[in-house]
Structures are given as structure tokens and as C-alpha cells.
């Protein structure tokens, strides 16, 4: 088991009002799984994503990632978990516009203390892996939406994380680019990468091998999707 969330509650305080966002969420993910978390806007899926991504802490519950009790870690240790165990893909790519594709991909390796030469080598390999070997020196402004997202995926993968987390990865893409990105996720998953994707789009969720839905902060498994 790579990821184990049990009885996760998350409340937000608005003035004197306590707003429950996640209620008793349990999610177990095995290594190499491809899971989609699907839900409408306001269902709590982004909050869940932030907790899985070690960016936020739940009000109560337990969370284990690769056997590590995440909720006992300090902020500094959580930064290390994000650096080494998780790879993030965002809806709006979050590429730094002044840097080349290669430098964007190499960014996490700077934080990991990898030497410059090795950093460039590994970033180049990651770009080759997502099919962008001919766009290495391009700036994000010179890339299409699909290419930008592939650069972002290369950046998420460059540190060989245990889990790839994608938050609405096709939200800003046209259908052709979306398809390409989905194919890339499938390919990575086939290579053994654990993928957890958040989406409101059932079509996109359908690309995953397992779909869980979230509604009003409660998680439910969609058995029929799993059966497919």
C-alpha cells in the first residue's frame, strides 16, 4: 500500500461557523494504481488533493504515504516528502515563464541538491520521456497548451516520485491535447507510476483504472467504473 488515508476530517472555520469539508474520508491506493477522484465544484476534492499532496493537514484522521506517518512530520519534513515522494501536475501548468522547458523541469532537482550537470541530464531524460526532446530550449510562451502540460508532467516525474498527483490536468486544454496528456498518464502508469488525478469531468475520469467520487466531502467508490 503506497497511500493510506483513514477517517480524514477537515473543517474550515468561517467566523464562528465550523464548515466541514471532508467527512470521514478513507482512501487506500496500491502502488501502481491509476485513480481518479471525481466530483463537482465545492465537493471537497481540492481539499482532499491538498491533504494528499502534503500541502494541508486534516483536522483529524491518519495519513500514511509509503509507510510514513505524514501527520507527525514537521513543515520542513513535509517539504521533503513533496520533493521526493510526490509529483504535482496543475491545471494551469505553473511553469515559470522566464525559464526554458529544461530549466523548469530541472527545478525540483535544485531543491534536491542535484549537481548542475546531472540536473540537466535528468531533466533532458524526463523531457524525452514525455516526447518533448525537440522543445528542450523553448520557453513556455513558445509552447502549446498540451506541450506545456507535458513539460509540467516531466517536472513532476523528474525526481521519480512514488505518486503523481494531477489536479484537473486537462482543465485548460483542448480535446486533442487532453487526449495526448491522458495517453501520457496511461503510459506512465503502465511503466509502474502510481497516478492520482482529480477531475470534475467524467470522460477524463474514465481514463483511470479506478474512479472514486466525492460529493459533499464524502468519498464513494464507483464500482461500475472499476468493473470496466
Amino acid at each position: 500500500m503506497i497511500l493510506k488515508l483513514d477517517n480524514i476530517y477537515k473543517d474550515y472555520i468561517q467566523g464562528k461557523l465550523v464548515v466541514p469539508v471532508l467527512k470521514d474520508v478513507c482512501l487506500h491506493v496500491e502502488k501502481g494504481e491509476y485513480v481518479a477522484i471525481m466530483g463537482p465544484s465545492g465537493s471537497g476534492k481540492s481539499t482532499l488533493m491538498n491533504i494528499i499532496g502534503c500541502l494541508d493537514r486534516p483536522t483529524s484522521g491518519s495519513y500514511e504515504l509509503a509507510g510514513q506517518d505524514i501527520l507527525r512530520l514537521s513543515d520542513r519534513q513535509l517539504a521533503d516528502v513533496r520533493l521526493h515522494r510526490l509529483g504535482f501536475v496543475f491545471q494551469n501548468f505553473q511553469l515559470l515563464p522566464r525559464m526554458t522547458a529544461l530549466d523548469n523541469v530541472a527545478l525540483p532537482l535544485i531543491y534536491a541538491g542535484v549537481h548542475k550537470k546531472a540536473r540537466r541530464e535528468r531533466a533532458r531524460e524526463a523531457l524525452i520521456r514525455v516526447g518533448l526532446e525537440d522543445r528542450v530550449t523553448f520557453n513556455p510562451t513558445q509552447l502549446s497548451g498540451g506541450q506545456k502540460q507535458r513539460v509540467a508532467i516531466a517536472r513532476a516525474m523528474v525526481n521519480q516520485p512514488d505518486v503523481l498527483l494531477a489536479d484537473e490536468p486537462t482543465g485548460a486544454l483542448d480535446s486533442k491535447s487532453s487526449r495526448q496528456v491522458m495517453e501520457l498518464f496511461e503510459k506512465l502508469n503502465d511503466e509502474g507510476v502510481t497516478v492520482i488525478m482529480i477531475t470534475h469531468d467524467s470522460g477524463i475520469a474514465g481514463c483511470a483504472k479506478r474512479v472514486v467520487t466525492i460529493f459533499d466531502g464524502e468519498l464513494a467508490e464507483r464500482k461500475e467504473e472499476v468493473a470496466q
Binding site: L55, R76, R98, Y111
Partner: protein, 418 residues
């Protein structure tokens, strides 16, 4: 760290105009300080060069009364109870550790009884010197010859002029062979001397005038043996010692004065020997110019403070602008310290570049000041280095608040910003 510096340059380059305007306060402040410091240093070096025997390390030990130089204008001014300096006393002085060489001379101020043809040569100083004088005081023969043994032995009526006197008295012709009348006795000019290390004093204040007044009119030298021909035979001597080094000047002067004072009759209580404390005079003048300029430095520092606040302001804007970038970096594993370091480096690089430009501008300004007003300037390398380091420090101090703000951003909130 290197990566941070590289990223900082990238950031500064991509906002050229803004970066330059941010640096402007630092540039102006540092440029002002560097030009002021260069002026102070230039003035100080000039004072030192002009005063401290042009590097000759010579100290004059003369008579004083109530702390003032005792000038001898006529025979009635000759003080009682002060014997001439004997060879034995000279040897005693020469034996001092701090003394390299010693010479004796008689002197008279003013040249009212000195004539060239019909012209009275007022303002020149007369000196009757021993054979050691020019070597000790650091003069070299420029024209003609030095005094020779026969000049002394045969009481010859010969003169040597210093360059200033020669230029004043004979602007168009060579003084060699010319006859100058001293107290109605004709003397022949045989040579012209000048200081081995020559300098032209710049008179830019009343203090300067008093300092250089006795240099400006020039000197006429005669052999000490010939002195009684026109003046008195028992006039007291003054002494010049050449110290081993500049640092020894005070010691040499003091000890020589002590030795000479022992020779004075106990009944003479008013007139004593005292060494010119030229270092102290230089120090006083330097302190005076430094005190004025230190106030200017404080004023220039205000510009640095304003510059620093400008840097802080722009860094805060930069943090706000790059919130989403900071959020991303934190999400993909950058620790607080890294974000803090990145913004601090950026502020420090920005102000350091400002400092370097400021130093260059300051050096340029100093040259312009020198051209326009003639004030001596001297560029201080340590001051320039300190200025750049100080600029960097300003960046770090004023960049701290924005950097802490950046490092403490909540990545979730930060990522939400576009």
C-alpha cells in the same frame, strides 16, 4: 547559492527599467560617499605630502618663545644664553637611534637688506648652512655647484638660491654668477638647489597660507663660515634632523630638542628649542577636513536609507507579483530557507550592482570635482570595496522583510493566485 545568483541576474535583467530605478537611490548614495571619501583622501594625502618634508622625513628644531616661533629679524633679536651648536652636540644628536643625519644653520627672516641691483628682495629667508645641510634637508643641486670646502675655509662670499628664490629673483636669466648684495656686501650666486622631491603647495585657505608662507618666498643660502661677515658671529643655531622613518620623526625631533635645550644657559627661561611637530599639524588639518566631510557622508547616508526603503518596496511588489511562483516552488519541495535565500540573494545582488555602479559614478564624480575645482582627489580602494559590501548589506537588511513574507506564504493560497 550560485543558482540563486544566476536567477537573480535573470530577474533583474527581465525588469531592467524597474531594477535600475530601484538601484538609483543606492547609486546616488554610494556615488556621493565615494566622491566625498576620494576628496577627503586626496586632501589628506596632499596635506601630508606638502607638510611631511615631501617624504624626506626631516624635522626642523628651532627656537620658540611662549610657544611661538622665535624669528630673528635683526641682531637685536638675538637671544642671550643660547650657545651655537657644537660638533660634540651634533655627534650626540647623530647617535640617536631615530636620527639618520643632522645639520646646523643660522637664519634671518626677511630680506630688507638684500638687493639685486636696485631691487630689494623682501620676503626671502637667509640661512647660513654647514656642509651637511643640503644632504640632510633633501635638496639637490639643480644649477651651478654646491659649496665646497674652500668656500668655508676662505670665508668666500658665495650664495646658493633655492628654486623658489631663483625663479622669483631671476625669472628670465640664469642666477649663476649674478651678484646679490647682502647688508651692502656683494655675494656671488654659485648654485641653485631644489628639493629632491618637489611639490607645489596648493593654497586654498588661510591655514594653508600660514603653513606654506615661509616656503613660498624662497631661501638664500650662504656658507655658515661667511655668516658673520654680514650678520653676527654668535647667533644661535637651528637644527634639521633627518629621521630614519616617518614614524621616527616625532621621536627624533623631541630627543634632539631635549639635547639642545640642555646646552641653553639656566638664566634663559623664555626661549627654548622645540621640534616642529609637522605630523601634528598635518593631523589637525586632516581632522578639520575630515570633520566637515564626515557631515557630508551622513547626509549621503540618508540617500542610502531612502534607497534601501525603495529596495524593500520593490521586493514587496516582486513577492506579490510572484506569489504563484513561490507557491509552485513550495509545492514541488522548496523549503522556506530556499525561498528566503532566493529573495535575499536577489535583493543583495540588486543593491550590490547598484553599489558597483555607484562606486564607478563616484570615481567619475571625483574626477569631475578635481577638474572643476582643482581639489585633490584620491580613490580609496578599501573604501570602494566597503561601499559595495555595504550596498550588499543594505540589500540583505531591507530585503529581509519581503523575503520572510515570501518564505512564509501558504502554498495553497499562493497557488490559487494567478
Amino acid at each position: 547559492m550560485l543558482e540563486n545568483i544566476r536567477l537573480s541576474f535573470q530577474g533583474i535583467w527581465s525588469h531592467k527599467m524597474r531594477s535600475f530605478l530601484t538601484m538609483l537611490g543606492i547609486i546616488i548614495g554610494i556615488a556621493s560617499i565615494i566622491s566625498i571619501v576620494s576628496t577627503i583622501k586626496g586632501t589628506n594625502e596632499e596635506i601630508k605630502n606638502n607638510l611631511i618634508g615631501s617624504g624626506n622625513n626631516t624635522v626642523e628644531i628651532g627656537l620658540v618663545q611662549n610657544g611661538q616661533t622665535y624669528w630673528i629679524y635683526s641682531s637685536s633679536d638675538i637671544p642671550f644664553g643660547i650657545p651655537q651648536v657644537s660638533d660634540e652636540v651634533c655627534d650626540e644628536i647623530r647617535a640617536l637611534d631615530s636620527v639618520e643625519n643632522v645639520t646646523r644653520y643660522n637664519y634671518r627672516m626677511g630680506g630688507d637688506s638684500v638687493y639685486y641691483q636696485n631691487e630689494s628682495l623682501s620676503g626671502v629667508s637667509m640661512r647660513g648652512i654647514d656642509t651637511n645641510y643640503f644632504a640632510t634637508a633633501g635638496y639637490t643641486i639643480r644649477k651651478g655647484r654646491n659649496f665646497i670646502e674652500d668656500d668655508y675655509k676662505k670665508f668666500r662670499k658665495v650664495l646658493i638660491l633655492d628654486k623658489t628664490a631663483a625663479d622669483n629673483l631671476f625669472p628670465d636669466t640664469s642666477p649663476i654668477g649674478k651678484t646679490i648684495e647682502i647688508s651692502k656686501t656683494p655675494f656671488t650666486v654659485v648654485g641653485v638647489v631644489e628639493l629632491a622631491r618637489h611639490f607645489e603647495p596648493v593654497i586654498s585657505s588661510v591655514e594653508d597660507y600660514y603653513l606654506y608662507a615661509n616656503e613660498s618666498s624662497g631661501y638664500i643660502y650662504m656658507p655658515k663660515a661667511s655668516w658673520p661677515i654680514v650678520y653676527n658671529y654668535d647667533e644661535p643655531d637651528s637644527v634639521i634632523v633627518r629621521a630614519v622613518s616617518t614614524d621616527d620623526m616625532e621621536d627624533a625631533g623631541q630627543k634632539t630638542a631635549d639635547i639642545l635645550n640642555k646646552t641653553i644657559s639656566s638664566s634663559q627661561t623664555e626661549v627654548k628649542y622645540r621640534a616642529d611637530n609637522i605630523l601634528e599639524q598635518a593631523q589637525q588639518l586632516q581632522d578639520l577636513s575630515a570633520a566637515t566631510n564626515n557631515q557630508l557622508i551622513w547626509i549621503a547616508s540618508i540617500s542610502l536609507l531612502v534607497g534601501g526603503i525603495g529596495v524593500m518596496n520593490i521586493m514587496l511588489v516582486s513577492v506579490t507579483e510572484r506569489t504563484s511562483e513561490i507557491g509552485l516552488k513550495k509545492a514541488i519541495g522548496a523549503k522556506k530557507g530556499f525561498i528566503l535565500g532566493q529573495f535575499l540573494t536577489e535583493a543583495a545582488v540588486l543593491t550590490s550592482i547598484g553599489g558597483i555602479i555607484g562606486v564607478a559614478t563616484g570615481i567619475g564624480m571625483a574626477q569631475v570635482i578635481n577638474r572643476i575645482s582643482g581639489v585633490a582627489v584620491s580613490i580609496s580602494v578599501p573604501a570602494s570595496a566597503v561601499a559595495v559590501l555595504f550596498s550588499m548589506l543594505i540589500g540583505i537588511v531591507f530585503g529581509l522583510l519581503p523575503s520572510i513574507k515570501a518564505a512564509n506564504l501558504d502554498p495553497i493560497e499562493a497557488l490559487r493566485r494567478e
